[in-house]
Symmetry: C2
Subunit: 172 residues, 2 copies
């Protein structure tokens, strides 16, 4: 069984897979008559060839604990996909690049932990585990383009599930 | 001075101006091997004639208290605009339809209070006050299409500011 150790979610570490979405005081500017700071993310929102319609949904994810086993990966050939934690205090992100044979390259798999108010934007075709709240159940906002056809979401179930260890377990 | 009393944010009350974004158990379905509920919003994400690029940003808004005076309205001719409260516990939404002379019809102005995890999607060209956190400062996620030109945001400063009363003040 492949063992993955979680890392902290940072824009640099996540860059091969997409972008981190969070308020960044370093790249913010005053708006609204000086009563708000606007921080533009660098999310590359990608509608692919434009076959889909933009969709906003709210996911209520059951809380899981680390270590946990991952048996499912998915990718979206038609669109990037963004998730932002609304009520989830912590959440697990597991990503892998697209390898040969249209399967995830699990040898380059990475796991990250994000916190409430943060999010990620998966680049189109990046393999990722379904969004996972850690601890209590949590809500997430999701944005992507969907066409309503089976190409919206491609699933893969690795023959050998991955085991994801928390920071404490990884340090032990 | 025109006085506005806030209402609770409900999909029906907000329907003339856009859609409420929130988890709705009544319209959710199991996804992710049964480990999450997905609740699709009915947000009409509207890129207008397609001149802009999709943008995700995080706003950190200074907390205000009710009653408060509103001196600024804005509308977006090229796009709908969605805001979702990430850390703001409560937030103020003030909206008005597009009237004659390209100005807001303030006689049909409405004010609503939303809560954390909720959001709104302003229909294209609906006049609205800048997003306003109530109580402590709060973060919001914003989604719209922007072109980078002045048509992205049209401002209007009413000659007579509006006064928005809280629920308690309205009932007193």
């Amino acid at each position: 069984m492949q063992i993955l150790k979680v890392k902290r979610l940072t824009p640099l570490a996540f860059a091969p897979f997409g972008e981190v979405l969070a308020f960044d005081p370093e790249r913010s500017r005053l708006v609204n008559d000086g009563r708000a700071l606007r921080s533009d993310t660098d999310a590359r929102l990608d509608p692919g060839s434009g076959e889909g319609s933009p969709v906003l949904a709210v996911y209520r994810a059951r809380g899981e604990e680390l270590p946990c086993r991952l048996a499912t990966f998915e990718r979206h050939p038609l669109s990037s996909q963004a998730f932002v934690a609304l009520s989830a205090e912590r959440f697990l992100i597991v990503v892998a690049p697209h390898g040969t044979s249209s399967l995830p390259d699990l040898s380059r798999c990475e796991a990250f932990v994000g916190h409430r108010g943060e999010g990620v934007n998966y680049a189109r075709n990046i393999w990722h585990a379904p969004i996972t709240a850690l601890g209590a159940d949590g809500d997430f906002l999701m944005f992507m383009w969907e066409s309503g056809c089976s190409e919206d979401c491609i699933l893969h179930h690795p023959s050998d599930p991955l085991l994801v260890l928390g920071l404490e377990q990884a340090q032990a």
